[in-house]
Symmetry: C2
Subunit: 495 residues, 2 copies
């Protein structure tokens, strides 16, 4: 695998001096076109051995290119706020928007590799991390991102030579740390792990480019040209996005039965039961969220449902039991300009809270497979792949001790009509009914179909959907509070 | 001062039940109008005594209003990332955008008061904090924000009663902590400090509203009505923004002399000197930024200058001495949608780095008093007040061990013309010349005037401007590197 990168590639100064001005000009032009088009971001990962010139190359790239459209991120030790959130959050917060280039020195590969070589994790852990990396990259490229992964390699001899060379020069001495020499002693171990990682994660969407790092001129010119070529090819090809519907078709609805139709919407509770149960479960929720153990978990509750199904009312029954300092409601509306310049899930990642918080999403990332699907706001491929992206996303949350509680509130078509009419009569509820609501109502069956498929594809053991019969508001509210308490309790027991 | 809030205000249930539906409806309508207009944000601060119902009131507000347009922030202990930046950063990151309401439970008043009462700071420190708070609020209201500050007060008797009442009820017992009782013992001290703070910071732009917190119905209705009334008045008055040019007029230019004209643009260095000095100062910068002490400071260097004055080249001479992981270049371009919905300085606050970083702004917050002033992109009042806002902003940075280094690069009008022409000939520099550049050139004198006034008003002892004679690029680069090293060195000595 590293054969070509241990040959001692070199470029003489004359050739280099001849090539660089042309390359710089072409890179700048490509950057300008990229920024003007603003249709996809470029994500460059730079990994590899110590002393193989990762930092220098990145500095040079910054020097060659227009700094307005390129940004470098050193992914060193994570901060406390970063440790307090799922591992990938720190990358999401630094993703370049469409039209720009983001260079990552250190990436989602760095820590898994290091932890494996130093024996802190097992081979299976590394495999899992690599699977996650692949899924992330798949999602990013599906969203249009161009991902370029560079691996700076050196043979063992040459790594030693490079480190010694850097140490001898007073101007570069600081670059060589004790850690570098410690890692050098582990060269063979690193090499094996590196090889496995590269083999495992060189995908069609985001292959690795291995570059010999010994000769600065060679490595800089090589990387510059690969970047230029990739951006250019992508710019020419930008409208040629492959659309292949590889997802399996939904089950045909032969007997007209579906998960929503099996719900008994007639379920009711009396006013008296409601008052008693409300007090009970709000009190329970209040106490649970004030336990010391709660500081170690996070709750993300999301609400989806038919229009007028009573999401707002249910949310208020939850929040009135909580301390206003520790909960946030995120009403999900149309994405902003900065959000539109990012992958779909970015606008949810940015809201992921620290530990000890309750975050409530009033509508959520499921909009992709509900309203966006039904109204045709995104392509079929986009919502098709959303199922597995969402499952991935939620798995990352759960792995980080986040309790993900998902509610779908169902009402019957008749009940909805009654509520729409009632709302139009009550002054301060009038604003809740818009023309969109009436239009959505016309597509009742399409939405029902989308909901059933969503439940089938995303109700997982770690983050199950709770379907709530909401024709009786009070019944729904109690079911929701009860479910929430139960899931929080279970999570705290597992701590 | 607290007399009216110790009378034992109460409202009976019948009146309350009659008033609330009307108030809710009106609040919702005001919220919708606020969101539709999207011209100003509403910032609500809720402070006051423990047990005076701060949290409950905020919960109720959230219940009454539309959660899509209101967001509550509990300002408890700051996070590590927050501690790593100037104190106000945590508020800037949570400011509501135009059209929305942000409620802060705990504010820029909380910690200064607490630190004073517990004797950790002196009276003078508190005074300084209050001055800062006033300036922040002035800036926010100048930017259009509506600020409502509520102070929940209780007499000593009633605070004790309230705490006991809350403790007796199993459902609210968790609300009363040891800290609350500890604070209760300090009631008299708190009262004196509170009174001083309120007196000091009740300004015309952002006055305090003191509310007796004993009776939940009274305090909720009062606060709800004050909010409603303030939003309504502001909505009616939104286009009536007072424009009064209170800033002193610039000095008349009688002898045609100004700070820029005193610069000797003929200064030059030889290629040989340049090479030697470049090596010397880049090496010095490289070593300085790798010292252990550097981890305790942050460097913010900003570059302004005539078009084609060589900002980019100078920046590259700096960055090539730095580790790409620890520096960031922020090219300042037109603000995004999310940035336009915030006060002017928000888009710079959001980039403030953690310690141990070098942040380079290619153009900066001075755009307000340069291009925006000259091109008429903002009103005269807006750029007039920008001088003191900027001085304030930089003072906050410096107070937090941030080294603020400001460069103005000057070239002569002739030199600029030569460079423009040269750039149009070199392929990969062609993109650097736009029609804007030629247009700006026509306004040379206006820009010169704006620059001189900027220097006069914002070159402070803590953050001085360095005027750089840039007709000779190499001379400029060395002067910049030298200045930067000197300022970093000085800051590290003061550590």
């Amino acid at each position: 695998m590293f054969e070509s990168a241990e040959l001692g590639h070199k470029i003489d100064k004359a050739t280099y001096d001849l090539e660089v001005p042309k390359l710089r000009e072409a890179l700048l032009e490509a950057q300008i076109d990229l920024a003007k088009l603003a249709k996809f971001p470029v994500i460059i990962l730079v990994g590899g051995l110590d002393g193989a010139g990762r930092g220098e190359t990145v500095n040079l790239l910054n020097e060659w290119m227009d700094p307005r459209f390129i940004q470098t991120h050193g992914m060193g030790e994570p901060s406390d706020e970063e440790l307090d959130r799922p591992m990938m959050w720190r990358f999401w917060r630094e993703l370049p928007p469409k039209g720009k280039i983001g260079v990552f020195l250190g990436s989602w590969y760095t820590w898994p590799i290091l932890n494996r070589v130093t024996g802190q994790t097992k081979a299976a852990d590394l495999d899992q991390s690599m699977e996650r990396a692949k899924r992330l990259e798949k999602m990013l490229t599906d969203e249009g991102a161009l991902i370029l992964k560079f691996w700076m390699h050196l043979s063992k001899d040459r790594q030693e030579k490079r480190l010694k060379l850097l140490e001898k020069n007073p101007k570069t001495r600081w670059r060589v740390t004790d850690r570098d020499w410690k890692h050098f002693k582990l060269y063979d171990k690193f090499r094996i792990v590196h090889e496995g990682v590269i083999r495992h994660t060189s995908t069609a969407e985001a292959p690795w480019t291995i570059v010999e790092g010994y000769d600065p001129r060679y490595r800089s010119l090589t990387i510059g040209k690969v970047i230029l070529d990739a951006i250019r090819r992508r710019l020419n090809d930008v409208d040629n996005k492959m659309v292949d519907d590889i997802a399996p078709p939904p089950l045909p609805s032969i007997d007209q039965l579906n998960v929503l139709k099996t719900l008994d919407l007639k379920q009711k509770i009396t006013k008296k039961t409601f008052t008693a149960e409300l007090e009970k479960y709000q009190g329970k929720l209040a106490l649970l969220t004030r336990e010391a153990k709660f500081k170690d978990i996070t709750v993300i509750a999301l609400f989806e449902g038919n229009d007028a199904a009573g999401k707002g009312g249910a949310i208020r029954r939850i929040t009135s039991a909580l301390d206003a300092r520790y909960y946030t409601i995120i009403p999900v509306a149309a994405p902003t300009e900065e959000e539109r310049a990012q992958p779909y899930l970015w606008r949810f990642w940015r809201h992921i809270p620290r530990r000890g918080r309750v975050m409530i999403f009033d509508r959520s990332w499921y909009g992709r497979v509900l309203v966006e699907r039904v109204e045709g706001f995104c392509s079929k491929t986009d919502w098709m792949r959303a199922y597995s992206e969402i499952n991935d996303f939620e798995a990352q949350l759960v792995r980080h001790n986040i309790v993900v509680v998902k509610f779908w509130l169902t009402i019957s078509k008749d009940e909805q009509l009654e509520r729409f009419n009632a709302r139009e009569k009550i002054g301060f509820k009038r604003f809740k009914i818009t023309e969109d609501d009436w239009r959505n109502r016309d597509k009742w069956d399409d939405y029902e179909h989308a909901v059933c498929e969503m439940v089938d594809r995303t109700s997982t053991e770690i983050a199950p959907w709770t379907l709530v019969e909401a024709n009786d508001k009070n019944f729904a509210r109690i079911k929701i509070l009860k479910t929430l308490c139960k899931q929080i309790e279970a999570a705290m027991k597992n701590q």
